[in-house]
Symmetry: C2
DNA sequence: CAGAGTTGGCTAATGGCATTAGCTTTCTGG
DNA sequence: CCAGAAAGCTAATGCCATTAGCCAACTCTG
C-alpha cells in the first residue's frame, strides 16, 4: 500500500477543508476522524504529524486568524481614517460570510493556557493593529484610543456573530443594518474629539 | 437502595449547576456524565427524564435566555429611552460576568432545526423586545428602528463576547471602555433623526 | 392491607471519538 | 544494497451518548 504523503502542513490543510465544508459549525465539528477520512488514512496515523486534536485546533485557528489579518491589512492598504475603518468592517463581515467556519475558528481558542495561547494572541494582534491605525487617523483623543478600538471591534464582531447565529429575526436587509452600524460608529468616533472622560 | 427523586425539572437544575461551575466553558463542557455524577445516579437513568443531550442543552439554553430576559425586563422597569438603553447594556454585561456559562448558553443553540429552535427563538425575542422599546423612545426614524436595535445588540454583545474570550489584550479599564461604547452608541442613535437612507 | 401496575433506577452492550503502544512497511542516504 | 528513520497500520483503552432490558420501589385501587 502506497503512502499518503502527509506532513503537518498537509494535515492542517485538510483540517481547513473540513472546517470549510462544515459551514458555521465546521470548526466546532472538526474531528480527527473527519480529517483522517478525507486523507484516506487511519486516525492514529495523524499523530505522526500533529500532537493531538487540541494542538491541531490551535494550528487551524492560527491560520484562520492570520488569513483574516491578511485580508484586513490588504484592505487598509491605501486607505485612511474613516474610509479605512468602514472598509475594514466590511472586510471582516465578508470574511465571515465567505468562510463561516474559519471565522468561528478565530473566535474560539483565544483563552487557554498562556504557553499555548500566546502565538494565537500575537497573531490576533495583527488585526487589532490594523484597526488601531485607522482609528488613530481619526481625531479621537489619545486617551480614548483604546476605548475606540474596542468599540469598533465589539460592534463589528457582535454584528457578524449575531448574524451568523441567526440572531436577527426581522426580515429587514442586513446589508443596510450593517451599513447603518458602521456609519454610526465611525461618525460617533469622529465626534468624540471634545469628549469628557467619565 | 432509595430513589434519587429526579424529575425533568431537577435534571435541568443540576445541569445549570454544572454550567455554573464550569466557568465560561461550562456550557460547552456540559455533559450527561457530569450531571449524573452530581445527581448520584448512573448516566442512563437520566434518560427517564430527558430525551437526550441535545434536548437537555436546549432546555438549559431556554432557561438561560429567559433568565436574561427577566433581568432585562426588570432593568427596563421605570426607565425610558437613552437611560433605559444604557441600563440594559450594563445589565447584559453584568449577567455575562455573573453567569459566564449561562451567557454562553444564550449564544449557542439559536440555529438548528426550526421545529426544535422555535421555542428558543421566541424566548430570545423577549430580550429583543425590551431593547426595541427603549430604542423606540429615542428619536430614531421609524425606518431605522430595526437597524438601530441591531446596532445596539451587536455592540453590546460583541463587547461582552470579546471580553469573555479574553480578546482585549490592552490592560486599560474595561469598565471605561464599555461606558464609552454604550455612551457613543446611544449618542449616535439619538442623532440619527435627520439621517439619510443609504 | 395486598397486590398490580407504573415509574425510576440499574447493568450490559453498542458505537463514535481521541489517544497510546507496538508492529510493519516504505522510503532514503550512505 | 541495506540500515535506519519515517509513515503507515492494527489493537487496546477510556470517555462519552445512547438503547435495551431487567428489577426494585413507590402508588393506587380494591
Amino acid at each position: 500500500m502506497p503512502r499518503a504523503g502527509l506532513d503537518p502542513e498537509a494535515v492542517v490543510r485538510l483540517a481547513l477543508a473540513v472546517v470549510d465544508d462544515g459551514g458555521p459549525t465546521g470548526y466546532a465539528d472538526l474531528t480527527l476522524a473527519a480529517i483522517a477520512a478525507r486523507a484516506g488514512v487511519a486516525v492514529p496515523s495523524l499523530y505522526k504529524h500533529v500532537a493531538g486534536l487540541p494542538a491541531l485546533r490551535r494550528a487551524v485557528a492560527q491560520r484562520c486568524i492570520e488569513q483574516l489579518a491578511d485580508a484586513l491589512e490588504e484592505t487598509a492598504e491605501g486607505r485612511q481614517g474613516a474610509d479605512a475603518l468602514v472598509a475594514l468592517a466590511w472586510t471582516m463581515r465578508r470574511f465571515a460570510h465567505d468562510h463561516p467556519g474559519r471565522y468561528a475558528a478565530t473566535q474560539t481558542e483565544l483563552l487557554g493556557v498562556p504557553e499555548e495561547a500566546t502565538e494565537l494572541q500575537t497573531a490576533a494582534t495583527r488585526s487589532v493593529v490594523v484597526v488601531a491605525r485607522a482609528v488613530g487617523e481619526l481625531d479621537v483623543p489619545a486617551d480614548r484610543h483604546v476605548d475606540a478600538v474596542r468599540a469598533v471591534r465589539s460592534a463589528v464582531h457582535g454584528f457578524v456573530v449575531l448574524e451568523a447565529a441567526g440572531g436577527f429575526g426581522m426580515p429587514d436587509d442586513l446589508e443596510v443594518s450593517f451599513d447603518y452600524l458602521v456609519r454610526g460608529l465611525v461618525g460617533a468616533l469622529a465626534s468624540t474629539s471634545a469628549s469628557q472622560r467619565s
